[in-house]
C-alpha cells in the first residue's frame, strides 16, 4: 500500500474528539506535602466552619458596636476594660454594653462583643478604662464563623489542579492525605537508523536522540511520568517488541522519528500487529506536524510522532498534552485555560488555506507593547524552539496574518 493513500488527513478538531474517549487514571492518596501541581480526584467538602469562632483581624478591644455609636474626638465613648483574650484560648468572658476586652489579632471574640476597635483608635486612660473616638460598625475587624470556609460546602471540586492556595485549604481542613489522580505514564520510543544515544559520539550521518529528551520534558510539564525505552532501528520486529513492552506499563505510547516513508510504514505495521488496535488518525491538517499517526490499542493511546524535533513538539502540545491532562483528571476548564499572551505581530505571515499553521514567535516588550516576532525555520531545527516564547495559530481558513495584527500567543 502506498503512503499517499493513508493521508486522508484529519482536522485538529476531529483529532481532539478522538482523544476524548480514553479513560482517566485511577486514584491514589499522597501526603499534602507532595500535592503541588497534582489533580484532585475527589471533591473536598468542609467538615468544619473556618473559622469556627468569630476572629479578630486586628490588635484592639472587643466591644459591642452599639456602645461606640456617636463616639467622636469631642465626645469619646468610655469603656471599662474587663479582661484580655489570650491567643488560642476560648474567650471565657462576656462583654456587656460599655465594656471592652483586650484582644490580639487572631483572638476569639467573646460573647456579647460583635466588633473590634483598633488599638490606634482607643486611648488608655487608666488600667481599666479606655476612650474610643470613632464609631465602630458591627463585625468591624472580625472574620465571622464560617466566613472563610463553610461546613458541608464543596470547597474544591475534583479535577482541580492543586496550587499553593489549594494546599492551604487542604491544610485548613486537616486533609493531610490528598486523593489525586495517578499521573499518566507515557512511554517514549525513539526510532531511526541514524539516531544514537546521547552518551555516544555520532559517526558521520548520525545524530543524537533529541526527541526522547524534548518529549520527556513535555510529558513532565503536562503532568505525566515519562519512561524512555531507548532507540529502535527502522525494523518491524524491534519496533513491535518495544511497543509491546511499552504497552505493558504505560497509558500512552509515543513513537518518535520515523518521518521517512519506510519508517512510517513500520509504525503502521506495528500498530496493526498489536491486539485490539485501531488507527484513529493518519495525518493531521496542521503544519508542522502533518505526518502524525494516532491509534487506540485497547484502552491505551498510541502516537506516531514526526521525527523533526519542532514538528514533534508542536504535535505534542496540540494532541498529547491535552490527552495527558484529561487522562490525569484535569477538568475541562483548566485544559482549555492555556497560558496566553496578547501581542502585536511584527511582520506579515503567509499561510495556506486548508491547514492550521503554528508559528513559533519570540516576544519582546517594545514601548509598552508586547511584540511577537515570527521565527521561521525548518522544522528539523531545535534552534527556533529555543529562541521561541510561544506559538501563534493561523486558522485553517486563513491565507495568513498581516503585520500589526493582534495575535494570541500560547506560551511555552
Amino acid at each position: 500500500m502506498s503512503t499517499k493513500e493513508f493521508f486522508k488527513v484529519s482536522s485538529l478538531e476531529s483529532v481532539l474528539t478522538h482523544l476524548h474517549n480514553f479513560p482517566r487514571t485511577e486514584f491514589e492518596t499522597i501526603p499534602i506535602e507532595e500535592s503541588l501541581g497534582r489533580i484532585l480526584a475527589k471533591d473536598v467538602i468542609s467538615d468544619i466552619d473556618i473559622p469556627d469562632f468569630n476572629r479578630s483581624t486586628m490588635d484592639g478591644y472587643a466591644v459591642r458596636a452599639r456602645s461606640t455609636f456617636g463616639a467622636s474626638e469631642r465626645s469619646p465613648a468610655l469603656f471599662n476594660v474587663t479582661g484580655t483574650i489570650e491567643m488560642g484560648e476560648p474567650a471565657r468572658i462576656s462583654v456587656k454594653a460599655g465594656e471592652a476586652v483586650k484582644i490580639p489579632t487572631g483572638g476569639m471574640l467573646p460573647d456579647g462583643a460583635d466588633s473590634v476597635v483598633m488599638l490606634e483608635h482607643a486611648e488608655l486612660l487608666d488600667e481599666h478604662t479606655i476612650e474610643v473616638y470613632k464609631s465602630a460598625f458591627p463585625l468591624q475587624h472580625v472574620i465571622e464563623i464560617g466566613e472563610d470556609l463553610c461546613k458541608e460546602e464543596c470547597i474544591l471540586p475534583w479535577g482541580q489542579p492543586i496550587r499553593p492556595q489549594e494546599m492551604g485549604v487542604l491544610a485548613a481542613l486537616g486533609k493531610s492525605d490528598v486523593p489525586v489522580f495517578k499521573k499518566p505514564v507515557v512511554a517514549i520510543i525513539s526510532t531511526g537508523d541514524e539516531i544514537v544515544d546521547i552518551r555516544d559520539i555520532p559517526s558521520l550521518g548520525q545524530l543524537r536522540d533529541v526527541n526522547a529528551y524534548t518529549l520527556s520534558g513535555q510529558v513532565k510539564k503536562a503532568g505525566g511520568v515519562p519512561t524512555c525505552l531507548g532507540i529502535v532501528r527502522d525494523n518491524f520486529d524491534e519496533l513491535f517488541h518495544m511497543c509491546e513492552q511499552a504497552l505493558s506499563h504505560a497509558d500512552i505510547v509515543l513513537v518518535s522519528g520515523g518521518s521517512s516513508v519506510g519508517a512510517r510504514d513500520f509504525t503502521m505495521e506495528a500498530i496493526n500487529a498489536l491486539p485490539r488496535s485501531e488507527i484513529l488518525v493518519h495525518g493531521i491538517s496542521i503544519s508542522p506536524g502533518k505526518p502524525t499517526i494516532i491509534a487506540r490499542i485497547g484502552k491505551k493511546a498510541f502516537f506516531g510522532l514526526p521525527g523533526h524535533v519542532t514538528s514533534a513538539m508542536i504535535v505534542f502540545m496540540k494532541t498529547v498534552q491535552p490527552l495527558i491532562e484529561r487522562m490525569g483528571g484535569l477538568s475541562e476548564k483548566y485544559i482549555e485555560k492555556k497560558r496566553e499572551a496578547t501581542a502585536i505581530l511584527s511582520r506579515n505571515i503567509a499561510s495556506v488555506q486548508g491547514r492550521t499553521d503554528f508559528v513559533r514567535v519570540n516576544l519582546v516588550h517594545d514601548k509598552g507593547r508586547l511584540v511577537a516576532h515570527p521565527l521561521l525555520g525548518k522544522s528539523g531545527l531545535i534552534r527556533t524552539m529555543v529562541k521561541a516564547d510561544g506559538l501563534i495559530e493561523i486558522d485553517i481558513n486563513s491565507e495568513g496574518l498581516d503585520k500589526g495584527s493582534v495575535v494570541t500567543v500560547e506560551l511555552f
Copy 2:
C-alpha cells in the same frame, strides 16, 4: 519601644533593591533527565556542528540543483539513479550532473549533490531512471552543516531556565550531565499561640497551620526547596532557637504569623539577637502585606511575613519569589518575564495613594474578551485566593482604577 516607631515603611521598589545583595547558590551537576525547570549554571558552548553533514529533510533524490533548471511537465529533466543513501551511514557515493541518488528523510547528502527532489515530484521510468518535472533550488529540503547549532557558538547562556527544548539542545550536544544552580533552601517557621498542626483537631480559638503549606507550595513553584520546621509559640526563646536551627541549613528563613503586636516584637527581638543581623525593611507600602520585616543575617535572608494567609502569599510573590529566583541563578530577564494576561476590569476599584495595592482577580472569557473580576475580601481569608487566577497592581500614585480599564494580570 512602641510598634508604631518601627513603621517607617519602605516602597516595594526599595525593598527589591535590598534583595539584590544576596549571593547566588553554588553549582551542582545533575543528570539531564532531572534538568527540567532547573537553571543553567554555565554557558553551553557547542563543540560540534549540528548537523555535521548536509541532511535531507524529505524522502527523495539528491541531485545537483543545476541539473533540474528549466525542468517542467512539458520538458522533464532525466536523471540516472546511481545508488541509495542508507540512514545513519556516511554517503559513500558522489553525484555528478544528470545523476540522482535516492535519499531518505534524515539521510546524508552525497558529495556533489546540493538539493533534494521530493519523491512526489519525480517519476520512476525504470529501475535506473527518473524524470523530474520542476526546478529544484540549491539547498532545497536540505539542512546544511551547522545550520541548527554551530561549533563554538554559545547556545545557551547561564541563568537560562531549562524547558523541554533546552533539554533537546543539551541532548543534541551530548551533555548528559548538566551544571545547574543548587535550589535555594527555604526554611518555614509558623508562629502563633493559636496555631496547631494540620494533623491535630483545633480547640475553640485555635486554627490549623495554613501558611506553612501555602508558603511551601510557593517555594517549590519558585524553584526553591521548602523545609517546614513546625510551629513555635509566641515566645522569644522558642522563636530564637528555631531561627538558629533554620539558619544552620537554609539560605532563606520565612517566619509567618506574628501579625499581632506582641508576636511582631518577638520577631524583631529574635532578629536582633542573632549574630550579624541587620534589619533592612520594617513595613512595606503595599496592601495587603504592610507588616513585613526583612533582615539580613550574615549572607542569609530573613522574612517576617504577615500572619494573614493572603497577605503572606502576596508578600511572598512580590519579594521572596524574586529573591529565590535570583539566588537560584535565574537571569534578570526571566525574573522580570512574569506570566501575564491582559484583561478588561469589570468594576471600579478604589485605592489609597501612597501604597501599592494588589487586588486578586478571577478571569472570565466573555464574548472574546478576557474580563477581570476583582475579588474583594479580608486578607485573612483563603477563599478569595482559591477563586483567584491572578493579581492586578494599582500604582502607588493612583486613586484607583475605572471599570473598563485594560489591566495586566500577573497569573498565579
